[in-house]
């Protein structure tokens, strides 16, 4: 006190008064200080409570949003699938139901999955409810919502027409390739399922609830069943949520007479709002009021207050520490939440890849790549089992850096652990060091894998393979196992579908191939028919004409004969008569050929001695002296079954061809051979030969290279030989000669 030395020393009464005043002032100051500290404590307490509520609300909101978005994204992935879209476009209920069932199998917590046309008329639902087909749901909130802008929409709470319980519906538009909306796929989610995953979330000293965009409870810890459907839009905090506001609110509970601090937060993508509320510490608040109100409390109270002040200071320190702690845990919660979101993202990517791909290998690669990244393991593999052979094969494998093409690597099924247990759906942990020593175990150890886990893939009750992943340690966190199980289930469905699809595709291709072959056969038969028809017409024409020509030729021949009888022996006349005679002969021969060709009749086959036939025919066809005839006839030749007149005609054609091919003379060789498969007869000349480009056409009717002749001799020979169950073949070298070979089966 600066002024104390100036006080009169004798005025002790004044001194006491001042002392009392001083003490009172001191007390007052102490009171003020205590009040201040106490106030600080309360504010800290309140701030702490609010921060906590907000952190919880943020975390829970992110959790709910991630979960619901996963459903919506899965629906979107379905709506984008080609085969599914095709089924929707054709309104093929049977096929659509397969897809709906599959979706429901993936998300068994869903109440139902359904399809409606863009107008809201329901046409497929799983579980099947034929009574609802054809019914219009155009006035339902899910239809109004999704059709407003054709975007995914989460509906308000309503009672399901199918199951009679409160649900929310997720509705997603299905578009065709041009982007036109062709239908809606929806899925309804039971509120009691949502309740099951929100109920375990504990809010210290309070609780949380969720409302939809109409103010109905999506989740409330105590209200269930019909309680969901009450309208709470008038409650101030719900009103704020419905307006899309976010914040904290202090509200008094008229029933319990306490005050609650509530953090509220909208979930815009779902149209929901979340409220986290906690009790405010009312007792402290009342005491605060009491202390500030009483300015004249005694020393005891002052001391008490001072003491309280000290306590408050300590408590403040504690609170600060606690706040730090809370902030840290909030941060941790946030990080955990980020991790969870990242995990969901990768899982979704795997899902979408699995759903989008059609080839098994591509599905497998998508899965192993995602799984490797998600679990952070050095290797993940999709193994397909061949239970019959006791072997497994890699479909796809992802190593540390790259994705290998799987098929081809085969190994014994025993490397996958207990197959029976896998069949029951139990994952297997395999310790590589305990495996029997072998190339597989060595290779695993060399690549740094000391233990791996095999998670079964089961489709339609059948064990089709396993997903395996491994690393240096035999520790597999439950989280990894549950993720792998989820991916394995998806894979199993996708693979069995892909196999089915490939089988159908293969069968379709085979069918197409058969149709192509059959078509080719039919076309060939058709060509053959047309050719036969043309030949038949030609034959009739030629036959009729030939007869008519024979008469005038006969008359000309007679005339020549007569002239030769009566004309004088003049050389030039003789020559011309000779020419006339020869030309008539040629014309006659051509006509005979035509007639023969037109009149091939079914052979009357008897046992024929080809050697005798050859000799006889050569006798009938005397060769000019420029041609040497060589006969090499086998002495042990067995008879053949043939029509002798037809074979004679063939011989006559071949001999006369050989004759014409050697205008300047040569050698005609006729050979018979007793071969293993029967009898061979060859007629060879040393004449002009046939050009290679003509060789394959010489058996075609009307093909000829001769100036004279109409090209029927060889086709006739071929027809006759073949109708006698024989074969004819030709070889020729231009300038060296031609050889015809006939083959007949022995008797």
């Amino acid at each position: 006190m600066a002024g104390a030395p100036d006080l009169p020393s004798g005025k002790t009464g004044h001194g006491t008064q001042w002392a009392i005043v001083g003490v009172l002032v001191g007390l007052f100051v102490i009171l003020l200080v205590a009040g201040y500290f106490f106030n600080q404590v309360l504010r800290l307490e309140e701030a702490q409570s609010l921060a906590e509520s907000e952190a919880i609300a943020r975390g829970v909101a992110a959790f709910i949003q991630a979960r619901e978005e996963n459903y919506v994204n899965s629906l979107l992935a379905y709506a984008g699938r080609f085969r599914f879209r095709e089924a929707v476009e054709r309104k093929n209920r049977a096929e659509a139901l397969v897809h709906l069932r599959q979706f429901r199998d993936l998300f068994s917590e869903m109440d139902s999955t359904f399809l409606a046309d863009p107008g809201g008329v329901l046409w497929a639902r799983f579980p099947e409810t034929p009574g609802l087909y054809g019914r219009s749901f155009a006035d339902r909130d899910w239809h109004r919502g999704v059709s407003r802008e054709w975007r995914p929409y989460v509906s308000e709470v309503f009672v399901s027409a199918g199951s009679g319980v409160p649900v929310v519906a997720l509705a997603v538009p299905i578009r065709d390739l041009k982007g036109k909306v062709i239908g809606i796929i929806g899925s309804s989610q039971r509120l009691d399922v949502i309740r099951q995953w929100l109920l375990p979330i504990k809010v210290p000293g309070g609780d949380l609830y969720l409302v939809d965009r109409k103010g109905q409870f999506v989740f409330h810890p105590t209200r269930t069943g019909p309680g969901h459907l009450s309208d709470y839009a008038r409650v101030p905090i719900v009103g704020r949520l419905l307006r899309g506001e976010e914040g904290v609110l202090e509200q008094e509970n008229p029933v319990e007479h306490d005050v609650r601090l509530a953090a509220y937060r909208p979930l815009p993508s779902l149209g929901w709002g979340l409220v986290v509320q906690r009790n405010k510490n009312l007792a402290l608040q009342r005491m605060h009021t009491l202390i500030l109100g009483s300015g004249t409390v005694g020393l005891v109270l002052t001391i008490a207050l001072t003491f309280l002040g000290v306590v408050a200071i300590r408590s403040q320190r504690r609170v600060v520490v606690a706040l730090d702690e809370r902030n840290r845990s909030t941060e941790e919660l946030r990080r955990a939440n980020d991790r969870y979101r990242e995990r969901l993202r990768i899982l979704r990517e795997i899902d979408q890849a699995i759903l989008a791909e059609e080839a098994p290998v591509a599905i497998g690669e998508a899965a192993v790549r995602g799984l490797r990244d998600l679990l952070g393991v050095p290797r993940a593999i999709v193994n397909l089992f061949d239970l019959a052979s006791g072997e497994a094969e890699w479909l796809a494998a992802a190593g540390r850096r790259r994705v290998h093409l799987g098929p081809g690597v085969r190994f014994p099924l025993t490397l996958m652990g207990d197959v029976e247990a896998l069949r029951r759906g139990e994952p297997q942990v395999i310790d590589v060091t305990s495996l029997p020593r072998g190339p597989e175990a060595e290779a695993l150890l060399a690549s740094g894998v000391h233990a791996y886990m095999a998670v079964p893939m089961i489709a339609g009750g059948e064990l089709i393979g396993a997903l395996s992943f491994g690393g240096a340690h035999a520790e597999f966190p439950p989280e990894h196992i549950s993720i792998t199980r989820e991916v394995a289930d998806q894979m199993a469905i996708a693979l069995s579908q892909a196999r089915l699809y490939e089988r159908v595709k293969r069968e379709a291709e085979e069918l197409e191939q058969r149709v192509r072959e059959r078509t080719a056969q039919l076309e060939a038969a058709q060509d053959e028919l047309v050719r036969a028809e043309r030949l038949a017409i030609l034959g009739q024409l030629a036959g009729g004409m030939s007869h008519e020509l024979r008469n005038p030729l006969g008359v000309i021949k007679n005339s020549v004969y007569y002239l030769r009888m009566v004309l004088p022996e003049e050389e030039r006349v003789r020559k011309h008569l000779g020419i006339l005679d020869r030309e008539v002969e040629t014309a006659t021969r051509i006509i005979s050929g035509l007639l023969d060709f037109a009149r091939v009749t079914p052979p009357s086959r008897v046992e024929v001695d080809l050697n005798a036939l050859v000799r006889d025919q050569l006798e009938r066809m005397p060769q000019p002296c420029s041609i040497t005839v060589v006969l090499e006839l086998a002495s042990d030749l067995p008879p053949v079954l043939a029509d002798p007149e037809q074979i004679r005609l063939v011989l006559s054609n071949l001999i006369s061809n050989a004759n014409q091919a050697m205008p300047n003379g040569g050698t005609l060789t006729i050979q018979t051979v007793h071969a293993a498969a029967g009898v061979t007869l060859t007629v060879a000349d040393t004449g002009l030969g046939i050009a290679p480009e003509h060789l394959e056409r010489i058996f075609e009717p009307l093909f000829t290279t001769k100036a004279k002749g109409i090209g029927l001799g060889l086709p006739l020979a071929k027809r006759l030989v073949e109708s006698n169950q024989g074969k004819i073949r030709v070889e020729s070298t231009p300038g060296q000669g031609t050889c015809f070979e006939l083959r007949f089966a022995g008797v």
Partner: protein, 130 residues
């Protein structure tokens, strides 16, 4: 002494004329008919040493005419000819006449040889054209 007489039957005028000339030059008396009916009438009216007849003719065909001629004069040799090598009438003609049916265009040398065999020594007789 008369030359041996041959009745030549064909609806083809060219054939009748050319073959007739050849036969006449070979010292046969040649009578002609252009149908089966005419041939039968000729045989009913006159006596012939041989008949040379086409199978395919309008009206009464060669084989029908042949049957009628054989019933009128069973001993007369008849040689049939045709341009149709696979006629169903050929077999019947061959059976009735006892000679092979000759194909057209005719091998005249063969016709003359056959006639010579049927009618003995025509060349010994004096030449005369009917």
């Amino acid at each position: 002494m008369t030359h041996p007489s041959v009745l030549l039957v064909d609806d083809d005028v060219g054939m009748v004329e050319t073959l007739g000339d050849i036969l006449a030059t070979s010292r046969y008396q040649v009578a002609t008919a252009d149908s089966g009916e005419a041939a039968v009438a000729r045989v009913r009216a006159d006596r012939f040493d041989a008949v040379l007849m086409d199978i395919r003719m309008p009206g009464l065909n060669g084989v029908q005419a042949l049957r009628a001629i054989k019933s009128l004069a069973p001993g007369i040799p008849v040689i049939m000819m045709t341009a149709y090598t696979r006629d169903e009438l050929i077999a019947e003609a061959q059976q009735t006449t006892g000679f092979p049916v000759l194909g057209k265009p005719l091998d005249i040398d063969r016709v003359l040889a056959l006639l010579a065999r049927l009618i003995p020594s025509p060349s010994a007789r004096p030449l005369g054209i009917a």
